[in-house]
Amino acid sequence: MAEFEPKIVAFVCNWCTYAGADLTGTSRIKYASNVRIIRFPCTGRIDYMLLLKAFDEGADGIIVSGCHPNDCHYTSGNFHARRRWIMFRSLCDFTGIDTERIKFSWVSAAEGAKWAEIVNTTVASIRELGPYTDYKKVAKYPEKEVIHG
């Protein structure tokens, strides 16, 4: 059986991590191809419901990454993101969503190698955890949504 290839979605800010990932490219540093980057203006824009949506749609792991504290292009967006992440993480723990599958990090525009490393370690750890099939159990979705006409 082929090795499990996790699907990983990365939510990154435009100014630091997106540019950092660009630098990884310009430096030709290789990393696992499981990650798909979605660009946001700022980590402060990231609505954490999107993370749940990603799990719901079948993502196995998530990376959220933005500017280092104090380096935010918009001064404080990353602080808001961090604060909301702390709240959101508690909520995840409470509801039984596996926070091991969400990697929160800071990658600056100068840290191309760090981006590659974060992707690789996340892919490796998610590969070990296996496919995230438990999410559907946690969310307890009705198999078919019945819409009354």
Partner: protein, 667 residues
């Protein structure tokens, strides 16, 4: 139904070496809503751009996805191409196949699959893109410069010389700032006033500069290009138009023993005074706190002696409203004052003075006419000790940062002392010598090697008086912390440079941020050193951090260029990537419930409260409204909004959810 064109670029071989571009284009062509898809060697080349333009015209495309390099590289190129073909530029998105895919992965099927995914995300996103127009805001081409020190002077002159109007306000009765107090300047030892006063006169005479001294910022409203500032012109108690600056009043004023601020308390001034002889404007003000007339209700000597009848005892503060397009904040710094150094006896012993006081002693225009005489008895000190880092780099004192200028001015002070007092002995206690700068290290070496200043590496624990001498007790850390005691006649403390009193209130008036030490914060520590996080407000000089004259001047010129750049446009155009609060048909008006959580989240104070009124003018609902001039498009408010009423153009909820869903749903 959208008609989307997908354009896959090979980037020579940069992408095609690892990604099967033809397959990407072919797969994209099968998606719903994709009307055209093609791959080409160089999309950014002229023929490549023509493929896009022709497809837009011939197929009537409603959206474009260019799958090539990073949007940080060529987004403007392709958006421009779209605009030229008549498609709204914001209907063009880029999939990053090069930096985020081909360059970082090996050649295999997974890489091509990733490329296909990246294209699909954006095909789905672009379906929800809306035509956006660049935001235009008018510009008032007048600048307000706050602070008339060397930074403010330089910024004013530079802006005025580009042909734009400048309003310069200064809190004190004269411009000149700290630089006018200095004796000589490092590392050239040229006289500070000799290089500064011509600039001060130039400011006063420049046709584009309006100078208001004894004035402060009262309040500030508005946004980039369109500020409304209220300026409080404190009453000078004289009619400036009539006053000729003859000086009769200041010589005849009976109150003569007020410590002079300009001389750092080492000299005296009168109640009606000009801070220093070269002051600009050279017209006196009445210090109402010390004037006999204001205290006891009689005197009026100045009114009697004034030949032009310019004295106005009943003059009141004036509030003036001005409209400006940009602001340069150059309010400078101050040095730590008494009570802060009980262990050094500052304020207790008259001969323990600050570096700024030493400047006045060494200055030819100072209270001793340039002779180094100690304040207590006027004797020439035979032994003098300079303490570096008095307060600076001392977390216990709450000032962990380096004040930066002290190492250099101590070397200068010691040098000046050696030049003026032949046979005198000078000692410097230092932690490290930080002499980074052109000819700075050479200057310090000159003090040590040519002028014989004794540098002792170590700190001073205390200073006390014994037999009329000041005993400086410290340690020499280069000699294994050996205790050192020096019997000195005078001690000079290189006190820490700190933010001005009231810096915090001023920052809050202008909505600019400040650091824990109340210095104003730049927008980016490396790439935006003169901008603040409020567009249109710039920083110059030591209000941002302690800095020396050349740095302050360079920063001021930098700020002036930013202002000139702003004023070179009649209208400002900005990317429309900003937040908007939704509006709906009555009776809902907006799904915004008016919790204003967004107001607390916004780093730019861009969110206002808007009243929705009925025909009778009664307020029905209070909702949030984004000021497009202030919004920078970070989207923090979007994530905060409880009712999802606020959305950011270009990164809407629809678009972001679509991206996530498109990515994970298998086609």
């Amino acid at each position: 139904m959208s008609k989307i064109g997908v354009f896959v670029c090979h980037c020579g071989e940069n992408i095609s070496a690892t990604v099967d571009c033809a397959k990407v284009a072919e797969t994209a062509g099968t998606y719903d809503g994709v009307a055209f898809s093609v791959d080409y060697k160089y999309m950014c080349s002229d023929p490549g751009q023509n493929i896009i333009k022709n497809a837009i015209k011939e197929k009537g495309l409603t959206g474009v996805v260019v799958a090539s390099c990073s949007p940080r590289m060529h987004e403007p190129t392709f958006r421009k191409a779209c605009a030229e073909a008549g498609l709204n530029p914001f209907m063009c998105e880029m999939a990053n196949l090069r930096e985020h895919c081909s360059w970082v992965h090996e050649k295999n099927e997974a890489t091509t699959e990733k490329a296909i995914d990246l294209v699909r995300i954006l095909v789905e996103k672009v379906k929800y893109n809306h035509s956006l127009n660049e935001i235009k805001v008018p510009v008032t081409k007048t600048a307000l410069v706050i602070g008339g020190g060397i930074a403010g002077i330089q910024a004013s002159l530079d802006i005025a010389n580009t042909g734009h109007k400048v309003i310069l306000i200064e809190r004190d009765p004269s411009i000149g700032g700290h630089m006018s107090q200095l004796s000589e300047t490092f590392p050239t030892l040229d006289c500070s006033q000799c290089i500064l006063t011509p600039r001060m006169v130039e400011v006063a005479q420049h046709p584009n500069i309006t100078l208001y001294t004894y004035a402060e910022l009262e309040s500030l409203e508005g946004f980039i290009g369109n500020f409304k500032a209220k300026i409080r012109r404190k009453s000078k108690s004289i009619d400036e138009k009539l006053c000729t600056g003859c000086g009769q009043c200041t010589t005849k004023c009976p109150v003569k023993k007020i410590p002079s601020e300009f001389n750092e308390g080492l000299g005296k001034r009168t109640a009606i005074y000009v801070p220093f002889p070269q002051a600009v404007p050279n017209k006196p003000v009445i210090d109402r706190g010390n004037c006999t007339y204001y205290i006891k209700g009689k005197c009026k000597v100045c009114e009697i002696v004034c030949p032009t009848g310019a004295i106005r005892f009943d003059q009141e503060d004036q509030i003036m409203e001005v409209e400006v397009g940009a602001i340069v904040v150059a309010t400078g710094f101050t040095v730590k004052q008494p009570d802060f150094f009980p262990e050094y006896g500052y304020g207790k012993y008259a001969d323990v003075i600050t570096g700024l006081q030493f400047e006045r002693l060494a200055s030819a225009s100072g209270p001793t006419l340039g002779e180094i005489r100690r304040p207590s008895d006027g004797k020439i000190p035979e032994k003098i000790v300079f303490l570096a880092c008095a307060g600076s780099r001392d977390p216990a004192k709450g000032i962990p940062y380096c004040s930066k200028i002290c190492c250099m001015y101590i070397a200068k002070h010691a040098m000046l002392y050696q030049h003026k007092v032949h046979g005198g002995k000078s000692y410097v206690f230092y932690m490290d010598i930080r002499a980074g700068g052109k000819q700075y290290e050479e200057f310090v070496r000159r003090a040590i090697e040519d002028d014989g200043v004794n540098y002792i590496r170590g700190r001073v624990s205390k200073i006390y008086e014994k037999n009329g001498k000041l005993i400086v007790s410290g340690a020499d850390t280069l000699l294994n912390a050996m205790p050192v005691e020096i019997e000195a006649d005078m001690v000079v403390l290189a006190t820490a440079g700190v933010a001005n009193e009231g810096a915090e209130e001023l920052a809050q008036k202008m909505h600019i941020s400040y650091d824990p030490y109340k210095f104003f914060a730049e927008a980016h520590p490396k790439l935006k050193p003169v901008e603040t996080n409020t567009a249109g407000i710039f920083l110059a000089g030591a209000c941002q951090a302690p800095r020396d004259i050349p740095e302050s001047v360079a920063m001021a010129s930098g700020a002036a260029v930013k202002v000139a750049g702003l004023f070179s446009q009649d209208e400002l155009t900005r990317e429309p990537i900003i937040a908007v609060v939704n509006r709906q048909a009555p009776p809902v008006y907006s799904s915004c419930v008016g919790c204003f959580l967004c107001v607390s989240a916004c780093p730019y104070q861009a969110i206002e409260k808007e009243e929705i009124k009925n025909r009778n003018g009664e307020v029905i609902k209070l909702v949030a409204k984004v000021n497009p001039g202030l919004c920078q498009g970070c989207g923090t408010c979007v994530a905060f909004c409880r009712t999802k009423s606020i959305d950011i153009q270009g990164y809407t909820h629809e678009q972001m959810y679509t991206e996530v869903m498109a990515l994970l749903n298998e086609y």
